[in-house]
């Protein structure tokens, strides 16, 4: 480098960054360091210096573009909205299948009661059928365990996105301000997700049939 030694302020900054816990450094800080290196290069530059300067300039541009690209992906939405929603939906599946399985087993219990009063082939056939139903109900246990694993994976992704958000500092907040969400959908466009039905609602958000009947009756 054309400068005889590294700028002491820059050297101190580099040393400070090296001590960052967890091996993560904010993207802004990397960009700052690259900029600082660029500004410390002055005086008569050799061919090697020029090459290094070019590379650093490219790196600076790359970081800046990557920052904008990743901010545009809105990782904050992924963490705050999509991941928790996905986890809630999966939990709801487990709950719903458990409820359905218990209802099936309640019904089988009643069949068994009737069965206990029967004798011979019919009793045997019913016994075989109820055994098969119990066996099949095991699906709830298996799906429940698998879904629980997926929910665990989602939490892991959430942690990683969290680390990404921390590394980006206020870059995402700046992007949000610069690109606010439009409330009004443009005319003559395909319906958005918001306009479409979202399938079964979460229990706490959903209206029961009684609620809906009451609402409809209130119009009479």
């Amino acid at each position: 480098m054309a400068t005889d030694s590294v700028d002491p302020e820059l050297a101190a900054r580099l040393q400070e960054l090296g001590k960052e816990p967890g091996g993560t450094v904010k993207v802004d800080e990397i960009a700052e360091v690259v900029e600082a290196i660029l500004t410390t290069m002055h005086g008569d530059l050799s061919a090697v210096d020029v090459k290094l300067y070019d590379e650093l300039e490219n790196l600076s541009r790359f970081i800046s573009e990557a920052k904008s690209d990743i901010a545009a992906l809105r990782p904050d939405e992924v963490k705050d909205e999509f991941l928790p929603k996905a986890a809630d939906e999966l939990d709801a599946i487990v709950e719903a299948t458990a409820e359905a399985t218990n209802s099936i087993m309640d019904a089988v219990g009643e069949i068994e009661e009737v069965m206990s009063k029967l004798k011979g082939k019919n009793a045997e056939r019913l016994m075989d059928a109820t055994t098969k139903i119990y066996e099949a109900c095991g699906f709830q246990d298996i799906t429940g365990q698998r879904i629980t694993k997926v929910v665990g994976a989602l939490h892991h992704i959430e942690e990683k996105v969290d680390a990404l958000l921390a590394a980006f500092g206020d870059e995402i907040a700046k992007y949000k301000v610069a690109n606010p969400k439009t409330e009004e959908p443009p005319e003559a466009q395909k319906p958005t997700d918001e306009e479409l039905l979202h399938g079964p609602q979460m229990k706490e958000q959903a209206m029961s049939q009684d609620d809906i009947d009451a609402l409809l009756n209130s119009f009479d």
Partner: protein, 128 residues
Amino acid sequence: MAVDLNMNVLIVDDYQTMLRILRNLLRQLNFKNIDEASDGSEALKKLRAKSFGLIISDWNMEPMTGIQLLREVRADEKLKHIPFVMITAESKSENVIAAKEAGVSNYIVKPFNAETLKGKLISVLGEF
């Protein structure tokens, strides 16, 4: 010697549905006295309070897992003779080996059917 179908059987699983399935299948196999626990530590308390002739346990439970329960049972002079059947979705060979080394009597992989359950219980307890 004939299997005593009146013996106490302890089923251990953190999924209520699976406890219910097991209870019903065991009842269909004519076992009369079935008790439940939702994890290893609750199971241990019950095992130390009452006499049991068979333990059927899941692996993945909190706070005490099935394999921890198995090790506790085998380390306890009063409990170590009780047949212990592990029923679990953990079908990796290292799990089976770990269970075998800990002294499991038999190992059933979920999902299972009534025939498999009966077959494994016969191999552990004898014909019934």
